[in-house]
């Protein structure tokens, strides 16, 4: 059993704190994704778990051992690096078997483990090549193979897909998910790409400036973001945020437009807020808006269109702010055309304008 527990883990570089006392419980076999903008401390956190960075404070437990003072080799983890980090002077076979060779396992066992890993990742025909003779995707698979031959307690992935092109990234994402289903080992995965986070994770940990902002399943963080940062970070396109003031049970936007207060939200009279609504919940009339009891109607001029095939992304202006809306079953729209949009109020969010905290109860 290998759960990973972080207790008040701190990282300082000299006087500069980069990770502030974070707490995280990761269950055995769980796939957890640490996500956040660059510089949020996610990679540093991962490297502290790996033992590549010293832990300045707090405790990291893997299984039932506190590993703070253990070197990486005694933590029984394996790691996949952003730049693959293969050993360029070794063949694929030697790369895969290296950790077992170092552990002085018998030759036959190494061979079996390497063959099995190569089989899982379809690397068998490449076993005698050197990393220099492989494509980016193949190198990434070797890096993953090197991680799985050891049957570690925990897999650590440090932005493993960010050097691949978009198509390959999608493909490798599926392979990583399949790998997890096959081997069932605990995975901690770092990325700045929220789509990777959403698609791969059992639970997402959103970090910002060295703090954990929210932990939850992909749907939880998508549907119930704790603050405006999570709301705009998770989901594509990012959630529209409109400055507003609470006035007699409604929301008064910058230009005086009043929208009824969405249900389930609590706000003081006169409170400055940000009204959040995703593009999926603003739709032009007559284009498959799912029926809902709470609907606000607004008229907006369209400034730009992005046809995506099954839907078209409409950029429009509401109360001086640009918002994005989705048009299902699209028809051609001219720039400047004024459309009536429905806003599904029960899917909307409200954040305090100062703290950014969600006002959902």
């Amino acid at each position: 059993m290998a759960q990973v527990v972080l207790q008040d883990v701190v990282k300082n570089y000299g006087a500069l704190p980069v990770v502030h006392a974070i707490n995280l419980d990761i269950a055995h076999g769980e796939f957890v994704v640490l996500v956040g903008p660059s510089g949020c401390g996610k990679s540093t956190t991962l490297r502290m778990i790996a033992g590549l960075e010293e832990i300045s404070g707090g405790r990291v437990r893997i299984g039932d051992r506190v590993v703070n003072d253990l070197p990486p080799r005694d933590r029984n983890i394996s790691m996949v690096f952003q730049n693959y980090a293969l050993y360029p002077h070794m063949t694929v076979r030697e790369n895969l078997g290296f950790s077992l060779y170092i552990a002085k396992r018998p030759k036959a066992e190494i061979e079996r483990a390497v063959d099995q890993a190569a089989e899982i990742l379809s690397l068998t025909p490449l076993l005698d090549r050197k990393p220099g003779q492989l494509s980016g995707g193949q190198r990434q698979r070797v890096a993953m193979g090197r991680a799985i031959v050891r049957h570690p307690d925990v897999f650590l992935f440090d932005e493993p897909l960010s050097n691949l092109d978009a198509k390959l990234r999608t493909q490798m994402r599926v392979e990583i998910k399949r790998l997890h289903q096959k081997v069932g080992t605990t995975i901690i995965y770092v990325t700045h790409d929220q789509i990777e986070a959403m698609t791969l994770a059992d639970r997402i940990v959103i970090m910002r400036d060295g703090h954990i902002v929210q932990i939850g399943t992909p749907l939880e963080v998508f549907e119930r973001p704790v603050n405006a940062f999570v709301a705009t970070f998770i989901g594509s396109p990012p959630m529209n945020l409109l400055p507003a003031t609470v006035r007699s049970g409604g929301l008064r936007l910058a230009d005086g437009t009043v929208i009824p207060l969405p249900p389930g939200l609590t706000a003081r009279e006169g409170q400055a807020v940000q009204f959040g609504v995703r593009a999926d919940n603003i739709m032009p009339e007559g284009h498959s808006m799912p029926p809902t009891a709470h609907m606000a109607l607004v008229e907006m001029p369209v400034t730009l269109t992005e046809p995506l095939g099954t839907e078209t992304l409409l950029f429009a202006t509401l109360a001086g702010t640009e918002v994005q809306a989705k048009m299902l079953n699209p028809r051609p729209v001219r720039t400047g055309e004024v459309l009536r949009f429905g806003i599904a109020l029960d899917k909307c969010h409200l954040f305090d304008a100062d703290t950014g905290a969600s006002l959902r109860v």
Binding site: A50, Y84, A85, Y87, R146
Partner: protein, 298 residues
């Protein structure tokens, strides 16, 4: 009036041709030619006395020549390996230093800033059996009460010469290996640590293979240096006493300029150059195979 018109490309290349002819081609041909004559510096007319391969046969049959040849190879092997090991150690230590590393790197190169002649004199003094620093130190420490004949005994003199060579040139290895250490990508090193390597195993299986090209470059440069070793040895022992520290070029230099037998000296010189070429080819082969194994270039 007819004027000869040379094509422009030839006119433009002419200065280069002339210089190359004057400084490389003509001396080369002349020295090669003179190695087949009985040319003596004191009797210039002897340059026309063709004696065929006599000089070469004489060199090949000369025990002194082969002793000098063997000693040069030995010096090369011992000095290069010592310099490599010490330079590697030095580079690894300096790479760990975080404060004042620039200063250390500069200090490390000091030995290279002295003329080899002066280094020779300095070590000649250090190893002098009567007034030398080393014997004085050993005697003051009570480790010995005899004057060890450092520059007289053949083996001891060889050690003294190796010491002087190593002192001047270890920094060549140190600097090149340090450059290699800075060029190593950190990812594979970290991967090795995660893969279960001890610091020694990380060095052995990951760091060292990355350093090999740099080591071979240093080897190639230094093998040419040591194969033509002359100055330090000439100053410290002049190949003596009684040829006990004779190297190829001290022998060739003496034959050519002291004994004035330039034809014979040139013949030995050409054989000696084969040695340099052999070492260079060897190290460049090693270099390119080390690079290939790292997937650099072809």
């Amino acid at each position: 009036m007819y004027r000869m018109r040379l094509p422009p490309w030839l006119v433009l290349l002419m200065p280069a041709f002339v210089i190359l002819l004057a400084v490389v081609a003509i001396p080369l041909v002349l020295s090669l030619y003179s190695s087949f004559t009985a040319f003596q510096l004191t009797r210039p007319e002897t340059i026309t006395r063709w004696i065929g391969t006599f000089n070469y046969e004489k060199a090949i049959g000369d025990a002194n020549f082969w002793a000098a040849f063997g000693r040069t190879v030995l010096l090369l092997t011992v000095a290069l390996n010592l310099e490599m090991l010490l330079g590697l150690g030095l580079a690894l230590m300096v790479a760990k230093v975080t404060h004042g590393q620039r200063l250390l790197r500069t200090i490390m190169m000091f030995p290279m800033m002295f003329s080899p002649i002066l280094v020779g004199f300095q070590f000649k003094f250090i190893f002098n059996d009567n007034v030398g620093l080393l014997n004085n130190a050993l005697q003051s420490l009570g480790l010995t009460d005899v004057a060890i004949p450092w520059l007289v005994d053949g083996n001891l003199a060889f050690i003294a010469i190796v010491t002087a060579e190593v002192w001047t040139s270890t920094s060549v290895f140190a600097i090149l290996i340090l450059a290699g250490l800075f060029a190593i990508p950190q990812d594979p090193v970290e991967a090795a640590r995660v893969d279960g390597c001890t610091p020694w195993q990380t060095f052995r299986y990951v760091t060292l293979p990355f350093l090999m090209p740099f080591i071979y470059i240093a080897m190639a440069i230094r093998s040419l240096d040591v194969a033509r070793a002359y100055d330090i040895v000439q100053v410290m022992t002049a190949g003596g006493p009684a040829r006990r520290t004779e190297l190829l070029w001290t022998l060739i230099g003496r034959t050519g300029y002291v004994d004035a037998r330039m034809g014979y000296a040139n013949a030995m010189g050409y054989i000696a150059i084969l040695l340099s070429i052999a070492f260079t080819v060897h190290f460049f082969r090693k270099l390119s195979s080390a690079r290939t194994s790292l997937g650099m270039g072809d």
